[in-house]
């Protein structure tokens, strides 16, 4: 089931097309990656999903119905990239305030705050002010205030920036937990290694247009270049062949690119006939980072669609 559907969304500002005809679906209970370089239109897109902006044209559907910012805001939690909290406010009061603005009752909000503060070891912070917190601590608080009201859709814009590895892992585990319990997460970032680890599906936007859409696995398959890593006692004399091209040579390990008609078995047969002892043979898939850079740098940016 699609929790969220964007259908040819357009948003123009005075000088530029911030979002130019973007459509995609976000599945319930999945972690969805919204990727793109700076200025690609990610934030504008998110602001339309959270009801801060209205699209110029196109429509947004939330749980099958047209998105209504008024009533659906309660079901969405949004953590913007530029973190913001009231500096002079006490942490406990701040969390309570934000939760109540989402429509929670005071009692429910208090119960959830207690639960989260215990879980993230923040109980002792209650009476501190935000201005007294370190960057990492206020990051944690911001995360808690985002998920406090048990939103069905959680939108996190660069959630790990400024966090040390320990706290980043803590938050990452919580994100997985939330998804496991049925929440849908949109994860906006330009840090590809995190995306590979966390996201089920991604959309890549650049200059206001969608240039890639699919599952992480599928995208890697689509962008693979028939490159294999072969481990074994290989010497340069063995490489005089036309069935593959050498990409990289290390003693004991080589990277090769197979030519179009060559199958894996052709390569293995070839080495067996050469009497080389093969220790490993596996395909090397491109990292999302490589795909990202290749697509974004490719200014002609022919829109490629990968249906799922």
């Amino acid at each position: 089931m699609h929790l969220l559907t964007l259908d040819s969304i357009k948003k123009h500002f005075e000088s530029q097309k911030a979002v130019d005809d973007i459509s995609f679906n976000v599945d319930q209970g999945k972690i969805f990656g919204l990727l793109g370089p700076n200025g690609a239109g990610k934030t504008t897109l998110i602001r339309m999903i959270t009801g801060i902006f209205y699209p110029d044209s196109g429509s947004i559907f939330f749980k099958g119905n047209p998105f209504n910012p008024e009533s659906d805001a309660r079901k969405i939690g949004y953590m913007p990239e530029e973190r913001g909290l009231y500096k002079k406010m006490k942490i406990g009061e701040q969390a309570l305030y934000l939760a109540r603005l989402k429509g929670m009752s005071r009692a429910d909000a208090m119960a959830n705050i207690k639960k989260w503060f215990v879980k993230l070891e923040m109980e002792s912070w209650w009476n501190k002010k935000v201005e007294d917190l370190s960057k990492g601590m206020s990051q944690k608080l911001q995360f808690v205030t985002t998920v406090l009201h048990e939103p069905e859709l959680i939108i996190l814009d660069e959630p790990f920036s400024g966090l040390d590895p320990v706290n980043a892992n803590l938050i990452k585990d919580e994100i997985f937990n939330l998804a496991k319990n049925g929440a849908t997460i949109i994860f906006s970032t330009h840090r590809m290694e995190q995306v590979e680890e966390i996201c089920d599906k991604i959309v890549l936007v650049n200059k206001g247009k969608k240039i890639l859409d699919g599952s992480v696995h599928q995208i890697k398959q689509d962008f693979k270049e028939n490159i294999f890593s072969i481990g074994g006692n290989i010497i340069p004399e063995h490489l005089m062949t036309h069935i593959f091209e050498l990409v990289k040579f290390n003693p004991g390990n080589i990277l090769v690119k197979l030519s179009e008609e060559t199958t894996n078995n052709d390569v293995l047969n070839y080495f067996i006939r050469q009497d080389v002892n093969i220790q490993s043979f596996n395909e090397v898939l491109p990292s999302l980072n490589e795909i990202f850079i290749r697509l974004v740098e490719d200014t002609s940016a022919t829109t490629r669609k990968f249906e799922h």
């Binding site: 801060i52 910012p69 805001a73 913001g84 009231y86 934000l98 603005l101």
Partner: protein, 431 residues
């Protein structure tokens, strides 16, 4: 609507709970009151101690002076001494001052006052009066007029004004009306500027802290703006309320501090022996002749109307500026202009409450809160009051409608500040 309530209570409580709020609300008027009480006290308990002045009157000028009842000085005439010889002795003889009047009418230093330390203004003017009277008397006598007759012939009229309304005549205490009107106008001016800029700073803070984005994903920008404006307005009203309570309690405490004074006021016997006491008593009579309830209610209305109208403009300005304070200053100036103009008209209106400027200023909604308060103690025609109030309410709706749109766009815009033209374009575009 409920969300406006939550925002309202945060904005209100976070300000009222601050120590600085208590300090300015209770401390400042208390200090002023103690100050005035001290002045009243000092002027009532006038010291009887008189300055002793040694006089060498070679011209015989002061002989015409016989009666000096209210003087703070006592003259001691010294004989058989010259200026030069007595100058060395007057301090050791126990005089603070030594007045020398020369017989030589061409001398520059014909009248001269020596003193051990700088003479006070009252002493100086006292002695100047003395000599002036003496010179006048001498010339009157020279022309065959009896100085005592002259004193009787000099008129000292005090004009009393009563205002004849349908409810009967009441006495007009022009001085008190003037002071209260000006005070009210000034207070509303101060409060509008102070609380208006608080709204602006609050909005800018939310924007630069980037809380705004979190907030508007939960509430509508309009709710955020209204919650803040109403919350801060309520802080202003609370402050005003506390001041009224302080004022009333002061009025009930005063009789205990100055029992005889209050007795005089209540019995209407202002003809007491001390003239200063009579002045104080008249001030109190003047206060009680004012329509206090009407003044307080008008103040609340005009503060709310004026504050709400301006606060939405201040909020819009706050939403477009970033950290740069100088930028804010530039944008605030055109907003402050009508407030300042209102203040200028008000300070004229207290002198001439029915002039064209005063009437216009008290009806035009951008100046009416200040100017109308400046006319409040004078009887303002009902139609002017009604028009002024109606226009103020309408202007509040108009400005809120426009500025809410500027605010909504501005609060999420970072980078270059938009110009006035662009802001006005935002304000008038649809939805």
């Amino acid at each position: 609507m409920n969300k406006i309530g939550i925002i309202f209570s945060r904005e209100y409580l976070s300000r009222v709970k601050k120590k600085s709020f208590l300090l300015t609300t209770i401390g400042v008027p208390l200090v002023i009151m103690v100050f005035y009480a001290l002045i009243i006290y000092l002027s009532l308990s006038d010291s009887d101690e008189k300055q002793k002045i040694a006089v060498i009157d070679e011209a015989g000028l002061l002989s015409t002076i016989t009666d000096r009842p209210k003087s703070s000085t006592e003259l001691v005439f010294i004989k058989n001494e010259s200026e030069a010889s007595f100058l060395k002795k007057y301090k050791t003889d126990g005089y603070d001052y030594f007045l020398y009047i020369s017989n030589d009418s061409t001398s520059k230093k014909r009248y001269h006052l020596h003193s051990s330390s700088a003479a006070s203004l009252t002493t100086m003017s006292d002695i100047e009066d003395l000599i002036n009277n003496a010179v006048r008397n001498k010339q009157l006598i020279a022309n065959g007029v009896d100085p005592q007759f002259f004193d009787k012939a000099t008129a000292e009229v005090e004009l009393e004004n009563t205002i004849d309304t349908e409810k009967g005549a009441r006495q007009n205490f022009a001085g008190i009306s003037y002071a209260v009107s000006f005070g009210c106008g000034f207070l509303i001016y101060m409060m509008m500027v102070i609380y208006g800029t608080q709204v602006m700073r609050g909005v800018t803070e939310e924007k630069t802290n980037r809380v705004a984005e979190v907030m508007v994903s939960s509430v509508k920008p309009f709710q955020l703006m209204m919650g803040k404006i109403l919350g801060i307005g309520a802080v202003g009203l609370t402050q005003f309320g506390i001041w009224i309570i302080l004022l009333l309690s002061m009025q009930s405490i005063l009789p205990f501090l100055f029992p005889d004074l209050m007795q005089q006021v209540s019995s209407g016997a202002v003809e007491g022996q001390s003239e200063k006491m009579a002045v104080v008593a008249e001030v109190f009579n003047g206060f009680s002749s004012l329509p206090i309830t009407k003044i307080i209610l008008s103040f609340v209305f005009y503060f709310l109307g004026g504050f709400l109208t301006y606060a939405s403009i201040f909020a819009a300005v706050g939403s477009v500026v970033s950290e740069d304070q100088q930028e804010a200053q530039q944008l605030v100036f055109p907003v402050l202009m009508p407030i300042i103009i209102g203040f200028v008209i008000m300070s004229k209106a207290v002198n001439d409450p029915n002039s064209t400027e005063a009437v216009f200023g008290s009806i035009f909604p951008l100046t009416s809160p200040i100017v109308m308060m400046g006319r409040i103690t004078y009887d303002v025609p009902l139609w002017q009051m009604a028009t002024s109030m109606l226009l103020l309410v309408l202007s509040f709706f108009f400005f809120t409608w426009i500025t809410a749109k500027i605010y909504r766009t501005g609060i999420l815009m970072y980078g270059k500040r938009p110009g006035w033209k662009e802001m006005i374009k935002w304000g008038f575009r649809k939805s």
